[in-house]
Symmetry: C2
Subunit: 764 residues, 2 copies
C-alpha cells in the first residue's frame, strides 16, 4: 500500500477512494504511516490548471511574428491561393534559396498549399524572385529605373506581366534585398493585405541596422532578461546551434543587417585565435541572411593578450598589433563589420590612460580596419571617468570638442538621451552637434529601466519620440532622424544600433510582448520616420491575430504602456529613481552609491523645498548644450514641457503647474495615473480570453498582474519617500499607500538579486 | 551603393558581381569607402553550413524519448493499426485524461491515426484503460489476482477479451499506475515490440523515485549544465510555465514520482508564505502526473525567517515553529512529500551548532511532518564539519553510531560512494550498515565530475555497478539494491534519489546524450536490478532510431563511454583529480585548497615513491568500515580489483600489477586507452551520418570532438604531473604529451569560469 500521499494525489478526484486493502507490491511498499487514513483528498473538483489542453503547446512564442497561420478569411484565402501557386528562381544562391524556402514555408502555412518550383513563369500564379543578374526574366522587365532608386537593400514587390503572364515579381539589386522583399510579401499576407494592384517598394534610410549584444563570454548577458546568451562559446566552433539561423532569419525579416556579438564591457579573449575561430563560425551562419558580425574591442588588448607593455595608441608596435589583428580577422571573416568600443568609461581602459584623446583611440582602430572597409563605432557615453557637476553633461562636454578629428570610418555612437535609457529623457544634445562626424543612434531594446522581462512597455513611442525630436540645429525639420539618416548634414555613413533583448529563452525575449520591441527596432531602423502605432498594429496581426477585436485592444495596450511606466516610475521628467544595481524596483531614497552621481537622490534633488535638477543657467547649465530655441524652451519654466519639467528645473512642492494643480498634487496624480493605466492593461487583456491561444494568454495575464502590483509598489514607495521630504499628505482623492516608507526601504530580496522583486510587496 | 561588405556577403557566390553602377538608395547610402573595389568575394563555393536544410528544425531534443515518429516498418505499422483504433475510458479523472491524451498523441504520431474515443469496447482495436473503480469493464475482468500483486504503482498491459471482443487493457490500482501503463505500451510500440500475446506487467521495487534539484531561488543551478532552473520563482504563482507539465510528463513516462524543488545548500526564503504560494502552484501542475514536491529545509529557518533567537531542536518554541510550518505547508499542498536536509556540512547550519546530534535534528522535522505523512530525507554526506584523517571515513563514522535513533519517517540519504560522485568509487559502506534505518540511495545524474554537458558518459553502468555491488552484510546476495529496496533488512520506507541534470535548455539536459542519464535513472529507480545495457538500447530506439545500424553502434558507444571517462580522468581507483571549483578539467597538482582534504594531491597521495591513498589497516583503515569479506578483498593488494587499487593502497611506481605491467606503465596504458576510447566514440558516430537528423547528428559530433580533445588534455596533463614525481619517462610505445607540465598548470580560462574549458589546450 502506498505509504504517503506522494503519488496518490489524484485518487480523491478520481473517485477511487482509498486503495484496495490487501494490495501489496512485489517489493516492500506496504508500510502504513501514522495518520494515513486521515489523509485529505487533495484534488479540487474544478482543476485550476488547464489539464485538458493536452500535453503539447504550439504557441510558445518561438516563431515570433513569423507564425504563418492559415488565413482565416475564406474569400481572402481564395484570392491568395489563386495568385500564389509557384515560385520561379533563376540562378540559385544561398540567399535566394533562403528567400525561396521562406516563401514556400510561409505559403504552406498561410495558404495551406505547396508552391511548385519552376524555371518558367506559369500561366498564372507565379512569384518570380531574383536580381537582374540572377534571373533573365527580371532583367527583361522594365524595372531599371525602379531598381536604380532602391540602392543595395531596397526591394520591389509588385503584380506585373512577365512574358505576357500575370505574376508577382520580387526584385532587388542584391540577393539580400530580394530576401527582404520576400519577407515584405509575407508580412503583407500575414496582415491580410490585398493583392489587387500589388505594389510594395521600400529602401532603408539607414545603412547599418545593428543589434548590440551585451553578451559575455560566459554566456551571461548584462541587462539581459531572456536567459543565457545565444552564442555557445564553450562548444563553438565544433557545434553550431540551429538557433543561430533562426535568429538570423528573424533579423532579416525586419531588415537588421549587423550584430555586435559581445558586450561593450569587453573581454580581450574574444580577439584570440581560438575565439576568432568561433566568431567565424557564427559569421558563416549569419552571412546568407545578410548579417555582418562586429565585435567589441578591449582597448588594452595589445597588452592583455598581445604581450605588449603598453596599449598607447601612438606607439608603432600598438598600431602594428591592431593592424595585424584586423588582417587576421578579415582573413577569416571577409565581411566583418568592425569594432564597437566603450573606452574610459565604467572601468574600461581607453586612450586617456595614456594621455591620448578619444579621437586618437578611435583612429588607431579605424586605421587598422580601413583597408578592409571596416568601421569603428565609438560609444559617446562616458561615466565616472572624471568628476562632473552634472553627469548628463559629460558626453557632450567630452566629445563635442573632438568633431572633425575622427577618421571617415569612425562613427560616434550616441544614446538616445544624455543619461542612460530612462523611461523618458530628452534627446541627447550631441545629435546635430557633430556635423563633421557620422553619429549613430543607440537605443536600448532590453528594458533595463522599464520593468525588464515582465512589465509590458512597448518602446515604439519612445523611439519615435526621439527620432522625431526637433534639434533645430538647422532650423525646423532638423529632427534626430534626419541627423541619423545622414540627410541633414550629408553624412555618408549611417547607423542605428539597439541593445538586444534576445537570449535563449524559448520566446527569445523573456516575454511575448518584449518581442515587439525587437520588431519595432528593426522596422524603425529601416524607416526612422514610420509610425510606431502602425508598426504595433502590424506586429499584433502577425503575432497574435488579425481579428479586429484583438488588434484594436492590444495595439491600444501597447501604445499606452510606455507612458504608464513613465508615470508609475519617473513622472514629470524624473529619472533614475530605480534601486541600485538591479534597476528594477523603486529606490528614490538610495544615496549610498559611489560615485555620488549614481544615486537616485542625486538625480531627483528632492528636499523640503522641492524637487528636480536645475540644469538651467542657474544650475548645471546642461540646457545650453542644446541648439536654440530648444535650449530656451527647455530652460524656461514657462515653456518646458511637463514631461521634462524636473529634468531641467528644481520646482517647489506647492508651485502651481500648467494643470492648475500644485507640483505635489500633480506628482501624486501622475503616479496614480500610472497605476490605473497598469491595471487597465490587465483588464483589457482579460477580455481577450478565448480569442488567443491559452498558453500565451495565460503567461501575459500573469505578467500583467505582476505589473499592476508593482506599479502600486513604485507609486507608494515613491510617494511615501517624497512625502517624507515635502511634509505634505497624499491628497484625499487618491488611494493612500499600502505601507509606510520604512517598509519599502527595508525590503531586501536575497532570493533574486538580479531583480529584487519582492513577493512581500504585494500583500498589505 | 553599399559602403562595405556588411550586407553584400552573398554577392560573390550569387554570381551577380559588383553592384550595378549608378544605383543609389533613396537615402544616403552611396558612400564609397577606400578599398571597396578590392573587396574579396567571401562566399565559399561549397557552403560549409547546411543552408539548404530549410529554416526549421524539428529535432531539437525537446521531445526527449517521447518522439512518437511514424513506425517505419510497414508490416509492423499495419499490425499496430489493426490493433489500436480506439480508446475506452470509464470515469474520467485528470490523470486518466492525461493517459488517454498521451495514447492519442502517441498513436497519432506512431501510427498516423486518430484514435476514436468511446464508452464502449469496439469489435476490435479498443484500448481499455482505467482502474477497477473507474471502469466497470475492468472490474469485470479476471484481473483481481494480478492487480493484487501490483501494489499502488504497478500496471498490467495485456491483450485480452473484453465483453467477448479482442482488446488491449491497461489497468492498475490507481490512476497513476494506469498512466505508467500507457507509457509502457507506447514504449513497447516505439521500440517495435510485438502485439502478439501482449503481456506487460511491472511494479516498482522502490516506493519513492525522486529527482533532487540543486536549484537556487535565483534560478542558478549548482552543478547544473543545462541553463537556468526550471522553476520561475520570480513570476510564480501568477505565471505557470508550460514546461512544468512537460517536465512532469517526461518523469511520469519513466516512473519518477517525486521532485525536491530546491538546492540542498538551502535558502530559508522558500519556507516563507510568499514562496510557499509558488511551491503550491508547481505542486498543482505536477500532481496529475503522480509527482509529489519536496523542499529542502534550512535548519536555522526558525531564526532566519521565524524571528526565534535559536533553532536548537530541543527548544519547545523551535519544535512548535516547525510544527506550525508543516501545518501551513500541508494546508496548501496536502500531498507534500517532505524535507530533504543537508545539515552541518558545506557551511550549512545543523543540530551540532547547538550540541545536538543529527538524529535530534532529523527527528525534530520528522515529528512536525509525521501527522501529515511527510518524511525527512537526511543527507549522510558531511564535509568539513570537523577535521578527519580521511574524508571518505566521515559519513560512516558520523552516522553509523546513530542507527536506531531516528524516527520511522526519517530516511538517511547516502551517496553511492563514500566520497563524492566520482567517475568510479567503491560503494558507500553505509549501505547495509544501518539495519534499523531506512537508507535512500543518492545518485548524481548531472555529470559534475564526468565532463558535464559535453562529454558523453552514459551513467547506466555506474548506477548498475553500485546497485549490484555485494555488501555481504548478510552473506552473498546482499547487494546494495537489496538494501535500498528494503528486501534485505525489511525496510518499509524506500527511495532512490538522483541529482537532476534538467534545466531550461531546449534539449533539457545540456546535450542529447545527457537525456539518457535522466532516463536510465528513472528506469533503474523503478527496477534496480535491470540491465543498463537493455535500458540504453531502449532509449536509443526511442530517441534516435530503431534502425539496427544505429541501435547497435550507439548502444555500444554509450556502454563504453563511462569507462573511457574513468580511464582518461581517474584510472586505477584514483579520485578527485579535477581542478578546483569547476571540477571540469584536470588539476592533479592542485594543493592550495582549504581544508586540505579538498585537494587533488591529498586524494592521490603521489610522491617520488608511488601513488595511492592507503586506506588499509596500515593507513586510515577506512576499509574496515566494510563488512567481511569485502574489507579483506579491498584491503589486500592480492585481491583488490585494479579498479579500486589506488583508492585503497599506496603503490610504488615500479611495482608490478596483475597485468604484468609496472604501475607507471599501467597508468600510462589506462590514460591512453581512455583517449583512444574517446576518439572511437567520434569515429563510430561519424559513420552514422545520414542515418540521423542533421541537427542532432551535428551537435553530437561537435561534442565528441571536444571530448576527444579534452581526453587528450586530461591524459597529458596527468601523465606530465605524475611523471614529474615518479621521474619516469612515458614508455616509448605511447604518444608523448602535447605540452609540458607548466603549460597545463598555467592554463586559466577567464572567459568561462564555470568550466575553465581552455581553447588553447587543443592546439599544439
Amino acid at each position: 500500500m502506498e505509504p504517503t500521499p506522494t503519488s496518490d494525489a489524484t485518487a480523491g478526484a478520481s473517485g477511487t477512494g482509498p486503495v484496495l486493502p490487501g494490495l501489496e507490491g512485489s517489493g516492500n511498499d506496504d508500510i502504513v504511516q501514522p495518520g494515513q487514513l486521515a489523509m485529505p483528498e487533495v484534488m479540487p473538483t474544478t482543476p485550476s490548471a488547464p489539464w485538458f489542453s493536452g500535453p503539447f503547446s504550439d504557441e510558445d512564442g518561438y516563431d515570433l511574428w513569423l507564425r504563418y497561420r492559415k488565413v482565416a478569411d475564406p474569400m481572402l484565402l481564395a484570392s491568395y491561393q489563386a495568385a500564389l501557386k509557384s515560385v520561379v528562381v533563376g540562378q540559385p544562391t544561398p540567399t535566394l534559396t533562403i528567400a525561396e524556402q521562406e516563401l514556400e514555408h510561409g505559403m504552406n502555412g498561410l495558404l495551406q498549399v505547396t508552391l511548385s518550383r519552376s524555371d518558367q513563369v506559369q500561366a498564372q500564379g507565379s512569384i518570380l524572385i531574383g536580381t537582374p543578374q540572377s534571373a533573365p526574366q527580371i532583367a527583361a522587365l522594365p524595372l531599371m529605373q525602379t531598381l536604380a532608386g532602391l540602392g543595395t537593400d531596397g526591394y520591389v514587390v509588385e503584380s506585373t506581366m512577365v512574358e505576357g503572364k500575370p505574376a508577382i515579381v520580387i526584385a532587388g539589386n542584391r540577393d539580400v534585398a530580394v530576401l527582404y522583399g520576400a519577407f515584405a510579401l509575407l508580412r503583407h499576407l500575414q496582415t491580410f493585405g490585398s493583392l489587387a494592384n500589388l505594389s510594395l517598394a521600400s529602401a532603408p534610410q539607414v545603412q547599418r541596422r545593428i543589434l548590440d549584444h551585451w553578451d559575455n563570454l560566459d554566456r551571461t548577458v548584462e541587462r539581459g532578461y531572456a536567459g543565457p546568451a545565444l552564442w555557445e562559446w564553450d562548444v563553438l566552433p565544433g557545434t553550431i546551434s540551429g538557433r543561430y539561423r533562426d535568429y538570423a532569419r528573424a533579423n532579416a525579416s525586419i531588415g537588421i543587417n549587423g550584430a555586435v556579438l559581445t558586450n561593450v564591457n569587453a573581454n580581450a579573449q574574444v580577439l584570440t585565435p581560438a575565439y576568432l575561430a568561433k566568431v567565424k563560425a557564427i559569421a558563416d551562419e549569419l552571412r546568407p541572411y545578410g548579417i555582418a558580425v562586429y565585435l567589441t574591442a578591449y582597448f588594452s588588448a595589445p597588452s592583455e593578450i598581445g604581450m605588449l607593455a603598453s596599449a598607447d595608441p601612438m606607439l608603432p608596435e600598438v598600431q602594428a598589433w591592431w593592424k595585424a589583428k584586423a588582417d587576421e580577422i578579415y582573413a577569416a571573416i571577409p565581411d566583418f563589420g568592425g569594432f564597437l568600443v566603450e573606452a574610459n568609461s565604467e572601468g574600461q581602459p581607453g586612450p586617456k590612460d595614456y594621455g591620448r584623446t578619444h579621437a586618437d583611440g578611435a583612429n588607431l582602430l579605424a586605421d587598422a580596419l580601413a583597408p578592409h572597409n571596416g568601421i569603428v563605432m565609438w560609444r559617446a557615453s562616458v561615466y565616472g571617468s572624471e568628476s562632473s557637476t552634472d553627469r548628463v553633461r559629460q558626453a557632450y562636454d567630452e566629445f563635442h570638442p573632438l568633431d572633425g578629428q575622427f577618421r571617415p570610418n569612425v562613427m560616434l555612437q550616441v544614446k538616445n538621451g544624455p543619461l542612460d535609457f530612462q523611461p523618458r529623457e530628452p534627446f541627447s544634445p550631441l545629435f546635430g552637434a557633430m556635423p563633421q562626424t557620422p553619429v549613430a543612434l543607440e537605443l536600448q531594446i532590453t528594458k533595463e529601466y522599464l520593468g525588464q522581462d515582465t512589465h509590458l512597455a512597448y518602446l515604439g513611442p519612445l523611439y519615435e519620440e526621439v527620432l522625431k525630436a526637433e534639434t533645430f540645429v538647422a532650423g525646423p525639420g532638423s529632427t534626430v532622424a534626419k541627423v541619423v539618416d545622414g540627410a541633414l548634414q550629408g553624412q555618408k555613413l549611417t547607423a542605428i544600433a539597439g541593445v538586444s533583448n534576445v537570449g535563449t529563452d524559448r520566446n527569445w525575449t523573456g516575454s511575448h510582448f518584449n518581442q515587439a520591441n525587437w520588431y519595432v527596432f528593426g522596422r524603425l531602423a529601416w524607416e526612422p520616420e514610420a509610425s510606431s502605432q502602425s508598426i504595433a498594429e502590424e506586429w499584433v496581426k502577425q503575432t497574435f491575430s488579425n481579428d479586429p477585436n484583438v488588434v484594436g485592444p492590444v495595439t491600444g495596450m501597447m501604445m499606452a504602456s510606455r507612458q504608464a511606466v513613465v508615470n508609475y516610475m519617473t513622472p514629470l521628467g524624473l529619472v533614475h529613481q530605480m534601486a541600485s544595481q538591479h534597476h528594477y524596483g523603486p529606490g528614490p531614497w538610495v544615496s549610498d552609491q559611489t560615485p555620488l552621481d549614481c544615486n537616485p537622490t542625486y538625480f531627483a534633488q528632492a528636499d523640503a523645498r522641492g524637487i528636480g535638477f536645475d540644469r538651467t543657467t542657474t544650475g548645471s547649465d546642461a540646457v545650453s548644450q542644446y541648439a536654440s530655441p530648444v535650449r530656451d524652451t527647455f530652460g524656461s519654466r514657462a515653456t518646458v514641457p511637463d514631461d521634462f519639467l524636473l529634468f531641467f528645473h528644481h520646482v517647489g512642492w506647492s508651485e502651481t503647474l500648467s494643470s492648475g494643480r500644485t507640483l505635489w498634487t500633480e506628482l501624486t496624480e501622475r503616479y496614480s495615473a500610472g497605476v490605473s493605466a497598469a491595471r487597465d492593461l490587465g483588464t483589457t487583456w482579460a477580455a481577450l480570453q478565448g480569442k488567443l491561444d491559452d498558453e500565451r494568454f495565460n503567461e501575459v495575464a500573469g505578467f500583467l498582474k505582476i505589473q499592476a502590483d508593482e506599479a502600486r509598489w513604485w507609486r507608494d514607495a515613491s510617494l511615501d519617500y517624497f512625502g517624507s521630504l515635502s511634509g505634505l499628505p497624499i491628497p484625499p482623492q487618491y488611494e493612500p499607500p499600502l505601507h509606510p516608507l520604512n517598509f519599502y526601504e527595508a525590503l531586501t530580496c536575497p532570493a533574486d538579486v538580479t531583480k529584487a522583486r519582492c513577493p512581500d510587496v504585494y500583500t498589505p
